[in-house]
Structures are given as structure tokens and as C-alpha cells.
Symmetry: C3
């Protein structure tokens, strides 16, 4: 298994960060077939495979505002108002995904991107671990 840490600057606002290119470059360096695991070692971020750039980023953030409102309902309180929602989010948008790799290329569909979803406005920097497990 080959593994590597990716450093991301997600900034101080809710964000959806496209890491498809970095994932593609990572598996291309090894080549071959296998499974790519994308894992965010943070308790307030998730990994989603969605289409980006046609309004769906905003649609996802609006949905998360609706399902996990940034109000004072949360027992987990510290940092910015509504921060507790960020700790529930990874139960719904898990911090990991696994993608098949064929001949050194990600097996994504035409419109799919791999993205880090982060509602947390208090952590501007994030790490992502990429791990590529190949057969033989």
C-alpha cells in the first residue's frame, strides 16, 4: 500500500474542496489496479463524491444548513455558534470513501468529483490521507 498526506487550505468559511486531480495524480504515480481510500483524519469534515460546479456545491451546503442548522440546539458547544453541527456531519457525510482504480486511473464517472466537505469555520487547514492498495 502506498500512502501520502495531502495538505489543504479550506479557509474560514463553509467549504467544498475538489481533490479529484490530487487523487488522480497520486494513483497515476503507482499505476495498476486497486482501491484508493481517501480519509480525512478530522472529526468535523467529510468526503463526498458529487458533481461540482453547477450549483450543486451551494445546494449541498443549503441542505446541510437545513438538516443540521447552525443554531443553539447542539450540546457540543465551543468555537463558533452552531459548531456542534460540524461534529454530527461526519455521521451523515463520512470522513472516508473508497474508489476503484483501473490501470492507474480513477474509476469515476464523467461528472463525479472527490470533495472534502467542511462546515467548520474555525479550522482553516486540513489534511487528507490517500492510500492506494493494489493487488500483488
Amino acid at each position: 500500500m502506498r500512502t501520502q498526506i495531502l495538505e489543504l487550505h479550506t479557509g474560514g468559511s463553509e467549504s467544498i474542496t475538489d481533490i479529484t486531480r490530487e487523487c488522480g495524480d497520486f494513483v497515476a504515480r503507482t499505476g495498476g489496479d486497486g482501491l484508493l481510500n481517501v480519509f480525512v483524519p478530522h472529526s468535523t469534515a467529510g468526503v463526498a463524491i458529487i458533481e461540482l460546479g453547477s450549483g450543486s456545491d451551494d445546494d449541498l451546503l443549503a441542505t446541510l444548513d437545513d438538516l443540521l442548522p447552525a443554531d443553539d440546539r447542539w450540546r457540543h458547544r465551543h468555537g463558533s455558534p452552531g459548531h456542534g453541527r460540524s461534529h454530527v456531519m461526519p455521521a451523515l457525510i463520512p470522513p472516508q470513501t473508497t474508489v476503484p482504480v483501473l490501470g492507474g486511473e480513477l474509476g469515476l464517472g464523467t461528472w463525479q468529483s472527490i470533495a472534502v466537505v467542511d462546515l467548520n469555520v474555525d479550522n482553516p487547514d486540513r489534511r487528507v490521507r490517500l492510500s492506494f492498495l493494489t493487488s500483488s
Copy 2:
């Protein structure tokens, strides 16, 4: 790693399609122990492991109607009304899952089925990539 594309006809309405048998047949042909990755290369479909056939299919579709209403709130607009919800769905129901395989058999529980969830009424045909990574 052995990999194969499965072709599905999901039709022109919201659908939950059972692919458990196809997944089981696929891993049985190789046998042995490993991990089966089930991946849908589409930006408007997801993979769920749930019990099917006792009303839960309808319960899941009703829940998705509730959480992601088919109305005009979505910024991503084209195709059928409410289509934007289908682009958010894979953030909540990811397009992939990974299942342990023991002695060529899926490690599912008695009531678990592997299903493709598809709210998109504009794409009647779908592909699923099955990838079985074994320990040598």
C-alpha cells in the same frame, strides 16, 4: 483485483434496485477472502445496504422526499423538476460501499441487501462497477 461492469435498467421513476445476487455471483467466481467494492460511476445515484421488501424501500424514498424535496429550491436546474436533489443525494447516500468477502461469499447479514438508489427519472440505464481485491 478483478473488476467488472454491471448494466442496470432502473427505468424512468425513482428506484431502489437490488444487486445482491449479482454481487454474490461476481465474488463466487473468484472465491477466497477479500474486499468487494461496489461503485456507481454516476453523479445522481447511490449505493445502500438495507433490508428490502418489507416496506423499507418506500420508507427510504419517502425519507428522501422529506429530506431532499423535489421542489424548486435547487440551484442545479435542468431536466425534470427537482432534479437538483439527485445531485445532492450522493453526499448522503454515497456512490460506493465496501463489503467483506469470506470464502467467496459476501459477509452480509441475513436481512441485508446491496441496492442502487436512484431518484433520477431522466436516466433509465445505469452502470455499476464491482471490484474484488483479494489478499494474494
Copy 3:
């Protein structure tokens, strides 16, 4: 691939059960690098990677009460009132997760725990399958 069943007593109320230590012990016995798959072979339980113990457990259960109310809306009816919600939950909180392992240690972040989420009050005992696939 090394695999093992973990037996859990989740009791007769909604529960979030920390299995991080058991997962860590399991991969430490093999050592090396690879992917750990955590799989619950039950149709009414899920696996989440979240921070535990600062109110987030209660926040998650409250969110699930909100998104999947324990009322009489569910078509899947048997057992305790609202039981049908437990059959939809694994579509949102999948029964599996995959975690990278480096040198026999889980690649979790400081605040991340691996937990079994179980709203089902009728099944007090649960099994979890741990499977560790290493590069040879």
C-alpha cells in the same frame, strides 16, 4: 486478509458504542499497512467515525430523531413503535467504513472514534466484522 467477529452488547435503548480500542487491538496483532473494513451484518445498525464524549453522541441521536422520527409514518412495522426508522438509518449511516492502517496503527485523527450507531431497542446484542486487508 485477517478477519474476526466482535460481539457487542448494545442494550435495549438507542446507543452509540465506541469500538475504537477493539479495532486498534485487532490491526496491531497483524501489524503492517493496509485497509481495515468495519462491517455490521445487521439491517438496523450503522458505523460512524465521529468524536465521542463531548455531547456529540446526544447531538447525533437528537439529529436522527429529527430526520427519522420514531412515529407511525413507517410502512415497515413490527416491534417497537417507530421501528421502521431503524431500517432506513443504514442508508444514511452505512453499516460499513474503511480506515487506513499504518504500521499496525489506525490512521484516525486525534478526536475520531469508530462507533456502532443503533436506534433499535429490540436487538440488545450485535456483531461487528473486522477485516484487515494488507499489501503482502
